[in-house]
Symmetry: C2
Subunit: 206 residues, 2 copies
């Protein structure tokens, strides 16, 4: 496995494979094929085989993939066999939702710290967390060694908060603000913008 040679686009598909495989496992299936997996996800069987072959030999001609084994392999490749701590910044509706989100369970993540800059919210409770002042963000995140953050602040504040997160040592930001962020090399951003998701579909509508 050589990071230099595996394209981002392949890495971006692995979590989709993992989710589909876990769904199959939850339905008590033991094995699957690239055809079956592809049909569930909407990706060609050939693409799935090609993607997975980058990391080794996971399937057997004729019998297909052992689901539990492939899940373990993908978790290891994606480094989600462990649990990553996450900070959430911005306690509006979306920040609230993410702070209490149940879907991180067993996916490799847990929220451990939440921030807002509104004095009316700081010190208040969201889910299991006491909202901390964004002023404390750099020191608190640096001290705890958190590498992941979810950004739920208004677009107008998103870049400034991003700069703080970078200063604090965060290396991966899931951005809910509808704005493109500038980050230095070595820091990654993924965007979860519902308008983008919707706009990817309207093209196909009448």
């Amino acid at each position: 496995m050589n990071k230099q040679v595996i394209p981002d686009i392949i890495i971006s598909r692995l979590p989709i494979y993992l989710r589909a495989l876990r769904h199959m496992q939850a339905e008590r299936k033991l094995t699957t094929s690239s055809q079956e997996l592809g049909a569930v996800i909407g990706i060609s069987a050939a693409q799935i085989r090609k993607d997975l072959s980058q990391f080794g030999e996971f399937g057997k001609q004729g019998t297909g993939y052992d689901i539990a084994f492939l899940i373990e392999q993908l978790r290891e490749i994606l480094k989600v066999g462990r649990v990553w701590d996450i900070a959430v910044v911005g306690m509006g509706d979306m920040g609230h939702a993410l702070s209490r989100y149940q879907g991180f369970r067993d996916r490799g993540f847990r929220v451990v710290m939440v921030f807002d800059n509104d004095p009316a919210k700081v010190g208040g409770q969201v889910g299991h967390f006491v909202v901390r002042d964004t002023k404390e963000l750099v020191a608190a995140i640096r001290k705890s060694g958190i590498k992941l953050a979810m950004l739920c602040v208004p677009a107008s504040a998103a870049q400034d908060v991003t700069n703080l997160l970078v200063e604090a040592g965060v290396k991966a930001i899931l951005n809910y603000a509808p704005i493109s962020l500038s980050v230095p090399a070595g820091v990654r951003v993924q965007y979860l913008d519902p308008s983008i998701g919707l706009q990817r579909m309207t093209y196909y509508l009448d």
Copy 2:
């Protein structure tokens, strides 16, 4: 412009271009280049030129792209020059957040109807909306001609509600439930699963 020949992957990038261009416009820029746009988004200039060339000639050698013009063209291609009505199903934290989300403004969308199956929530108020019973979903959506829905129900209910949405005539579903959905041909699903976004970055972390 021929829909048969333009790959999904190109369509999926257009909303990203549009968002970045609108951000530039908000900063009062008038023109940009594929190099500049690429640097903002993290896509190569060559890829951007190639993608846009599928739809016509938008830039001029030497002067680059007129931002306002390119925005208008992309809005037309993606069919978001109009406003699409959206139904939100599931009034948990995420459904609440989306029902009151301000980021749809000027992006081509507006929430018009919200549903839940919990008697304690039906009839209650979320943002500007009265929560309707999921039992009424098929009739209400069919009557109003809504084609887009955001799905925020628990994973265990997601496929059943999806089947109702399909029955109601919905053609595009933005799915927040951490589960792969089965839909018939002609219906599209986009997934907004925070775990997937995070897992796409942990691969690169130490």
